[in-house]
Symmetry: C3
Subunit: 136 residues, 3 copies
């Protein structure tokens, strides 16, 4: 993924596509982000204000320029990014049923980017389970 | 589940029963909540004050009526609910051993309800692994 | 594990060794801590200041001696430990590829000990997947 700044990046469709390609009918999908300054969240996908508010909350809870931090040489947004990642998730296990992620109606899967100038972000999606059987 | 307001609702017994019915001896159980204003936590099941204190902490950390929020039309407890869900978990992976969840002595699995008037809450439990072999 | 006080204890090497012993080439590893006053985090393994800052943040966010708490008879560091555990993770699902955890370059897996005088801590690691095939 190529986030261009702090924000929530929806990859629900991509994750569903990975599940579909796997052929798994009933099983488990695990999304894992290979970084420590971005994270994963499942959040409401209806009103975009939810995402704006969520980011505003985390920005206030974990402010930049906090005199608490010693680790400052990678920029003022780096240590807050690590803290936000610890407060959310790096991996999400989502059951698969009928060949799809069993997400609720209002659930979207997001990369939560915490840095201002992120490089490319890698999310690994692992799917396991019983495959759909096809008759001959 | 039918929570009747904010609180921690223990479903450890139900989860253990799902594992038992699956016949899996060694494997992995994944609990997943299909909502964005309730979440899952594993917490101490001994002193009920732990749950009271935990809720009090989250209520103070993520107060209602916060002027930060734009998303207010679903009620003053809705946006705080989304934030609390992001701060805790929507999915929990728990290994299975000897046909049971390998929970520690003091660990209970809870639905963490954040809304005052929730509707029914759905938790999906997926179990995978090697089944117990029965001799003939 | 035998933590001797609050801190982040790296067990990446031990987790990789469990995966190697399992013989699984492609699959999923789940780390699960069987306690409610310690937790798990994946964090940067390069600059030790990141860990110091992370602990400082959590210590300030969830202070000891908070008049909010009723559950105080197990010591002033017990209820903050439960809250910190709820804010981070008890389980981590990490995909396995080429016989190894697919961790990013800067990701280490840590037991996050929250208590001053912890007893031994048990982390269960479950690995599932397809084993490496060996030619004859």
């Amino acid at each position: 993924m190529r986030p261009d700044g702090p924000g929530l990046y929806d990859f629900t469709r991509e994750a569903q596509a990975v599940v579909a390609r796997s052929g798994v009918a009933v099983g488990l999908a695990t999304c894992f982000v290979r970084h420590t300054s971005a994270s994963l969240v499942i959040q409401e996908n209806a009103d975009p204000d939810v995402q704006t508010d969520l980011m505003a909350f985390f920005r206030r809870l974990v402010p930049e320029g906090d005199p608490l931090y010693r680790h400052t040489d990678e920029g003022p947004d780096d240590m807050p990014a690590h803290v936000k990642a610890a407060l959310t998730s790096v991996s999400l296990g989502i059951p698969v049923g009928e060949g799809q992620l069993v997400l609720g109606t209002w659930q979207g899967i997001y990369l939560f980017e915490h840095r201002r100038r992120p490089s490319g972000r890698e999310v690994v999606i692992h799917v396991t389970g019983e495959e759909i059987e096809h008759g001959d």
